[in-house]
Amino acid sequence: MRALPEPAELVGEELACRRGERLVFEGLGFRLEPGGALVLTGPNGSGKSSLLRLLANLLAPAAGRLLWRGVPIEADPAAYRTAIHYVGHLDGVKPALSPREMLGFWAALRGERGPTVDAALAAFGIEHIADWPCRWLSAGQRRRLALARLIAAPAPVWLLDEPSAGLDADGEARLTAAIASHRASGGRVAVATHQPIALSGATVLALERFAAAPRDAFPV
């Protein structure tokens, strides 16, 4: 029997993901240490977004398991939920509400009580539009608002799906700075991306290496 993994890390073992009839990937494993970064690369359809949703416990893996601090996440999903932030393609921004109201709501969902909303707005440079209705926001500004969630309520694991989509150079710089300071304080981040992203010492997980063999389609 192998030794238990070190605590305080996120470990995936032999993960497989099935979408409908199709096995997207299989046999995927990784370790995400404190301060570590995982960059998910691969062509469209290789399962980057699925892996992130799987890491967010929104999808159940078809095989394999995920361990958070040595404990399978299904054993204590509530503890794992409080440890992660997920920023996906869809941002959940309501056109009728203002960025300040959205962030306040998201922070409340995370159980955050402190006045962290202003700091989060400033970290992504959207404090000047904090009280506009979100329907006036551009795609890049909405993306900044979604990312400001990360600052409004701290969580040790960030799961980011194409976080720089729609961001300008300033937005990307702020994102890079936020990730760097998160990692410097022991946070972990998993990023799915097509663009080269400036993450020092990141582990690259190329998803095409775990693509399932199309054995169903071509019986031998």
Binding site: L59, Y86, F105
Partner: protein, 221 residues
């Protein structure tokens, strides 16, 4: 702020900012009741006998009309992911959504129901049992509706599916609600039927969130 209260406040704020939704439900309720005298004739005695059923059926249909917005918008824009990932259990989030839905649809229906009762010639002695019945029954309707709303997520025509799923489930509140009004005019009294309505709501509070949360997890997967 506790996430439960935060979610209720968020939904109430959205409803207030998009006032049309509440207006739509109330408008439907009023119109549906007003249509009945045109359909069955304006005879006061006939209306008096049908009044409780008319108001209850109209309230029920108005509540169904509002159910599709319970989860559909959050499902479409990704907000449901964030609610599922909040620090509270999904069941509690469903309860918060149901509470906000009741405050923005059930409660307004209860408030205008005495006026509509008088409009269809309901005996004024029966008004308290009509209002009290709706007050006790509509929370159960919001919560049972949450199950159907969660089940219909991702369907091709969610509104139609939702209606088909939920209307049979609304039979118990409809039966006890109209019986309460009738019984209040007899020596029997409305108490037993009102207690049954209260029991429906009390049972729905823990059970409906369990079912709806399971359906939501299925929809997110």
């Amino acid at each position: 702020m506790h996430p439960f209260l935060g979610l209720i406040r968020h939904d109430l704020r959205l409803a207030a900012r998009q006032g049309g939704d509440i207006g739509l439900v109330l408008g439907f309720f009023v119109l549906a009741v007003v249509l009945f005298p045109f359909g069955i004739g304006p005879e006061p005695e006939l209306l008096r006998r049908a009044a409780a059923g008319i108001v209850w059926v109209a309230a029920l249909l108005a509540a169904v009309l509002s159910l599709d917005r319970l989860f559909a918008a959050d499902y479409a824009d990704g907000g449901l992911d964030l609610i599922a990932l909040s620090v509270m259990p999904l069941e509690m989030a469903v309860l918060a959504k149901g509470a906000a839905h009741w405050l923005t649809t059930g409660l307004p229906l209860v408030v205008v129901s005495p006026l509509l009762g008088l409009l269809v010639n309901l005996d004024s002695a029966a008004l308290p049992s009509l209002v009290l019945g709706l007050l006790l029954g509509t929370p159960a309707m919001s919560l049972i509706g949450a199950i159907a709303a969660a089940l219909s997520l991702g369907a091709r025509r969610p509104g139609v599916l939702l209606t088909l799923l939920v209307l049979p489930l609304y039979l118990p509140p409809l039966i006890f609600g109209t019986l309460a009004v009738e019984a209040s005019l007899s020596a029997e009294g409305a108490r037993a039927h009102l207690l049954l309505l209260a029991a429906l709501t009390v049972a729905a509070v823990p059970l409906a969130p369990l079912a709806a949360a399971a359906a939501l997890r299925q929809a997110l997967d």
